[in-house]
Structures are given as C-alpha cells and as structure tokens.
Amino acid sequence: MSATFDHLAEVLDRIANTSSRNRKLGVLADWLSALPDADLERGARFLCGEPVAGTGDRKLSIGHSILREAAVAATGFPIELFRLCHREVGDTSETIALLMEGKSAGESLSLAEAEQAYLRLFAERKTALKVELLQGMLERMRPKTTKYFLKVITGNFRIGMQQKLVEDALARATGAKLAEVRDAANRTGDLAQVARAARAGTLAALEMKLFHPLEFMLARPLDDVEDLVEPESWWVEDKYDGIRSQVHTDGGKVRIFTRGMEDTTAAFPDVVEALVGLPGSAVVDGELLAWREGRALNFTVLQQRLARKKVDASLIDKVPVVFVAYDLLYRDGALLLDAAIETRRQKLESLFEGVGLPLMVSRQWRLSSREALEDTFTGARIRGNEGLLLKKTGSLYESAKRSAEWLKVKRPYGTLDVVVTAAEQGSGRRATLLSDYTFAVKDGERFLNVGKAYSGLTDDEIRELTRLLRSISKERFGRVTLVEPKVVLEVAFDGVQKSPRHKCGYALRFPRIVRWRKDKEASEIDGLERVRELYERSLA
C-alpha cells in the first residue's frame, strides 16, 4: 500500500495547530515510521519543500501567476474574485485550496502520484502546459491536500516546522541516533537520502556532497578575560566584521554560501575568478571583506555589493572585496570536520600557498598569556577588525554548534539609554510574551526609533516587562503593541550606521539589552545628538 499525500496534509495541519514542539515531533515521527520504504524518501523530501530530487539549480518555475491561472481555470471564478480572496488569505496555496472546496473530484493522491505530477510539471517547459497540468491536478485531488501539495512547490509551509524538527523526527522514527542523522544531513544536504539510510542503518556510508552549505561552527562570547581557562592553549585570530562565508570549489566550479545558507556567488565575481584557480576540491570557511590598502572597510561598504542584482566592473572597483580563509572542512574527497584544528590549518595553508589578493589566509598565532590578550585585542581593533577569535588547540570543527572551543572577544562599540516604544510577541517558548522591543532616543520632545533588540533579559524579567508593557499599551497591530514611552533600557551595540529604516536616520548594529534601567525615566535617556556623535566617531 502506498502512503497518501492526504495523510501528509493531515499531519502538517496538526503540526500547524499546536505550539508544542513535542507534539509536533510525535505526530511527524509517527507518520514517518509508518511510511513504506518506497515512500520514505519522497515523504522526507516533500517535508523539506523539495518536490523533485536531484534537480540541482533548476527549479520548477511555478510562481504565483501560473498557480493563479490554473486556479481560475479550475474554479471558473473570475480573476478579480481570486484577487480579492487572495488579499484576504495572504497565501496563494491556501487561497487556491479554499477556492477548490466543493469543486474537485476529491480523489485520493498517493505520494508516488504526487511525485509523478511534480516531475511532469518540472519537465514541461511551456507555461500554458504547466497551467493545464496543474489545473488537472486541482480538479482531481482533495482541497485539503491541495493546500500542501502546492506549498511543497512554493517551498514554504510556514507552520513552525524547521529542518531540525524533521531530523529529530527521522531519528525517532528510524531508531537512528540523532547526532548521526544530523551529521549525515549536514554532509549530504539531502534529507531524503538520509531518511532511507537511517532506516537501513547505513548512515555512516553516506558520503559528503559538495555544493550545498555545511552548517557553520559558531563561537561563544567571552565576556570577561578572567574567564579564559588555560590561556596558553588557544590559537588567536582577528575577528573580522564581514560576511561569514563558505566556499565550495571543485575543478573550476565555485559556489559561495552565507550563514543563512544563501548562495551569494553572483555578488562576488572577482573573488570567484580567483577561487577557480584553486587545485582539487575543497570546502573553505572564511569571511568576505571590503578591503582597501591593506585593511578592512566598514561593513556598510560591503553591503553595497549584496544590495545589487548585477555586479559590474565599476562596483567591483568601488568596493573591492577579499576572501579571508580561516578553516578547511573538506579537501579532495575527505571530510575534515573531525580532524584537529592544526591538521585543518596545515592543509588550508598548503591549499592557499602562493595565492594573492583577493584571496588571503587569516593570520593565526598562539596566545602566550592571559595578560597578552589585552594588547592583542587592541591590535585587532587598530587593524580595523572587530576583536579576536580564540580557537582551542586540538579542537574539531563542530558544525551547527555554538561551541565553547571557539570564543569571540568583542567590546561593545558603545551603549545608550533608550526608551521602549513598541513591543512584539516572541516565538516558541516566548510566544505568549512581549520579548522583542523597538526602542527610541530623544529628539527634543519627540522619541525617534533607532533599533530593535530581543536578547539580554532573563525570562523572569521578560515576564515582568510584558505585564508592564501591556498595562501601558496604546495600540495594537497584529503582533506589535505600541506602548507609552516609559520603560528605559540600556542597550549595547557594535556600531552605528546610516539607515532609512528608522525615522532618526541611523541604525545600531547588533543591539542587545544590557539591563533594564528601572531607576531611570524616559526624560533621562540619550538623545539623537549622542547617536550622531557615535556615528561620526565610526567614520574617523
């Protein structure tokens, strides 16, 4: 018996209708474990919003207008009515599913049939024929199924189901170890394949695949130098203020991925050109920086490269970029995550031997003592970098982990006393609390928003603050509550930049809450002139 997409749609509906991660996990694991072998792979793939396997960069090429056309044809409703409905619903797949109610044959759809349909849609290059195929599907299947059948195509379920939850469910459903499932998913970037191997007990045999981003290893902040244990057993590098990036190369093919797992290759043709020359195959962890005359430029300068769709010679000239390599995760067929940092470093240096700008290898040296840290830090700041990164000797590359083996040493650029003007509901555990705060500085009698922060307070403080903010709420727009400007916070941040996003014309970088200043009133907070001053300082 083949499993049905109808059942999958029910499962996804149940996941959408609970905030309990445990319940989501249970529902998903039950479904996965009952899938016959033949369906497990496609089931897992659909959960990732991937309709067809192994299509590389080619997409299904089905957007809103094709979906709308198919829906109009299948329902017979005029397009204006479709538009009105879509405006109310806000999601194309959901709109179409609702409009198909009572208008389809209501036939069951197996996972295999769904895959066949996706493949046909993928193979068909003509828009009119894609529409016709889709129309046929809409008229056939149950509307409740339609909603998720289409969401697999548009690739966004928006039901609170992250990849980690799917990995958890796969482990639970197959009895495989969670760490092994995660490792395999990281290596292959292919949850369908992982699902099959997890059930067969062959996860270890899955080989690394290039050109999908591996999870990054992250550093923990070291707030107090005194907290550093065994100061003599750390490698030190400058901490750059650029775009953390992962480079994949293999015989002339190059891809650059960001931490958000986005492909930014197109924005950096100058760097790509240099990377093409690297021998063999490799995955390199590093940072993209705007660079001129031997030092890094402000992060805002680099952003101009990302903002553009097309990067031409004049932009490259205006914003020259370098790639600073600092770790090697893969080399010529061998995954190096479990190799010691010293081994990875040595292979990295040999890979980059003899290359010049725009490629560099981050300078690395051994910390001599706790006392030396202060001078080293100042040196990094003088070089235009953000601070330091300490990497433990002998450490492994822990994908997806904020590890204690990597420590970042940063100093806040400054702090400001600000007042909260709006608060937003958090998510997950904080879903019922107001945990994201928009804050403002003073400008004469007015308050001008300058940023938003959501970390730094304890749960108890957030709860107390939530109660207080609700009592001074002025107006509400969905998740956002506007409040009387009464609550004063001290926020730290890493820089000030010009920004049209806020009324005051500036934005703070990485603002975080240092403390709730119950002792201060709104009249005592910092003014716009202080923000302007800090901005000027950053230019100097």
Binding site: A16, N17, T18, S19, S20, R23, T75, F77, L81, L84, C85, E88, V89, G90, D91, E94, T95, L98, L99, E101, G102, R158, Q425, A431, T432, L433, R463, T466, R467, R470, R476, G478, R479
Partner: protein, 334 residues
C-alpha cells in the same frame, strides 16, 4: 415595498417599520441581541422573547423612555398596519430570528445575521420562500467554509483534553454573547471542568433556560486556571498569558478559516466554526428562498452581489452603514 437604507438602519416606509435601527425609532424589529443590531430605546420593539430578554440586560428599563415590547415566537404572526409579520429561526445566537413581511402581495424576508446549518445551541434555521431577500454577507467569499456543529464540538473537546493531559490550560476566545456560551456548552456537556469569564457567564442562565445546560462551570479566577478549560473574551488573552502559565489558545470563529487568524488572534489552534452562513450556505439560502431580488447588506457586499448577478439574480449592495462592526468581526480585528 419601499425600502430605504441609511446609516440609521433599514426603513420599510409603508409600514413605518425599522429593521435593526442604529438609533431609537418609533417602531423597530430587532433580529437578535448583539449590540450592533439591538440598540437604543425605540418606542415599540418587536423581537423573539429570548432576544427581548437579552436586550433588556444591556438596555435596562428607563422610565424616561417608555417602551412597548412585543414578543413574537418563532412561526408566530402579527398584523401590523395591514401587513403580516412572521418570525422564523435564524440560528445565529439564542433568540435570533428572520422576519417575513407580507404586504401588498409581496413577500420580503429580512435575515438579520443568520446561520443556515444547525448551531451548537439554538433552533435549526428555516428557509422562508420570498420575492425579495435582505441578506447579510459577512462571509460572502468562496474561501469561507466552516465545520459542522458536530465537527466543531469534537475539535473543541479534543483540543481541551489534549492540553489538559499535558498539564497546559486550554483557553477559548469567544465574544460575550453566542460563541462563548456555545463553547462552554460543548465543554460542559463533555464533562470537562471549565471556568467562564464574567462577561460570558452573565448570559449562561439564558442558555440554560433554553435547554443548553453547562454542568459544573465556575467563574473565572485568572490565578487558578490549572486543570481547567477557560472560556474568555478576547481581551482577556493578555491577562491570561501574563500569568506565565502554559496557556494554549484556541480561536473558534469563522475567521479561523484562514491561517492568518493564528497571528491575528494570537492562537495556536484554529477552529473554523461560525454563527454566520458560510459562502455555500449563503448561496443555498438565496436559491432555496427563490428570491429574484436580493439586497446584500453586510461584509463583502459588492463582491457577493456580483456573484449573485452572475447567477441571474437581481442583486444589489445598497449603501448602508451599520454604526459598528459586528461583535464577531471585532474579535478578528483584535
């Protein structure tokens, strides 16, 4: 019949009869007791006994504004200035009624807010054949489909049980008159311990007298919600959440048909059950009454009138503004 639409309400000129007027008039028919339909101190008020009773709770007797209340039971008729007025169930809330006006050889039906399928609490609606129909279209777009009362009851009860099993507190948001009592009735009948917010509890005796008893409910104390389901008005949500307890919110409403209601209402569980007609029920109403002329007066009026015209019915969306959004809509805009 000469119907005039204005911001005061709908006026049947020949009979000097106002339908759900927004301000005090000489004579008014009130279709049900929601505050956007039953308001002010009209001199003569006609309505079902339940509606008049609920109306009195919100608009108590005032010696400066003497009134005559005329109670009309379902299926009962009244002669009025040469016309015959007959009242039929509308299913919307307790006491809700449609009015059939027979005059000069014409049959006019004013639905008020109406639900065609049987509600959890209340009489099943009747289709009243007529020439002209004044119909509300709160959910007059083809995206609105609702659960039946049995499906809704199961969803409500199952959600409550699941939450309680996990040590969490299920909270149901409902506006004070109608939805709140229906949810309480479903929970009470299933034997689930429940606490009801005062604004909703106030009307529970009326529902109990009408035969919808809610066993074992107690007044809400927001400090003691463990082990119970709670039924509250939407404004109470923040207070409940501020207790720091594991509160799981369910939103029972027609608007819960759309996933975006999850964010708008701050709920995790959506139960699309309404006390209005779904789109399909509206279409069914129009066709079953046989009306050739339909005035669409609330909600997606232009769009729904357009849909009816496509079907060869003379339909209009007369310019007409009710002073306030209906109670149910207020929840959606929360």
């Amino acid at each position: 019949m000469d119907l005039q639409y204005s911001s005061d309400g709908i006026h049947v000129r020949e009979l000097d009869l106002w339908l759900d007027p927004q301000i005090s008039k000489p004579t008014a028919w009130i279709s049900h007791a929601h505050s956007d339909h039953a308001r002010g101190y009209s001199k003569t008020l006609i309505g079902t006994p339940a509606t008049l009773e609920l109306y009195r709770m919100r608009w108590p007797e005032d010696s400066d504004q003497p009134q005559r209340l005329i109670a009309l039971e379902y299926e009962q008729s009244l002669d009025w200035h040469g016309a015959k007025l007959t009242c039929y169930p509308a299913g919307h809330i307790l006491g809700a009624a449609q009015l059939l006006v027979e005059f000069g050889g014409q049959r006019l039906v004013y639905t008020g807010d109406i639900k065609l399928k049987a509600p959890l609490c209340g009489a099943a609606t009747e289709i009243v054949p007529c020439d002209r129909l004044i119909l509300e279209s709160t959910f007059g777009l083809p995206i609105y489909h609702f659960l039946s009362r049995d499906e809704a009851r199961d969803e409500i009860v199952n959600f409550a049980r699941e939450c309680l099993e996990e040590g969490a507190t299920p909270a149901f948001l409902g506006y004070p008159l109608g939805r709140g009592q229906e949810v309480a009735y479903a929970l009470g009948q299933a034997g689930i311990p429940l606490a009801v917010h005062g604004a909703i509890a106030k009307f529970l005796p009326d529902y109990e007298r009408a035969g919808y008893s809610v066993p074992g409910w107690e007044p809400l104390d927001s400090k003691q919600v463990q082990g119970k389901a709670v039924v509250v008005v939407p404004g109470m949500r923040r207070l409940l959440e501020a207790t720091g307890k594991d509160i799981r919110i369910a939103y029972v409403s027609g608007w819960a048909r759309l996933d975006n209601a999850r964010l708008r209402a701050g709920a995790e569980k959506l139960i699309p059950y309404s006390d209005h007609c779904s789109y399909a029920e509206l279409i069914e109403m129009v066709s079953a009454t046989g009306a050739r002329h339909v005035d669409v007066i609330h909600g997606y009026t232009e769009a729904f009138a357009g849909i009816l015209r496509e079907r060869g019915i003379h339909a209009e969306a007369p310019a007409y503004a009710r002073s306030r959004a209906s109670e149910e809509e207020g929840v959606a805009q929360e």
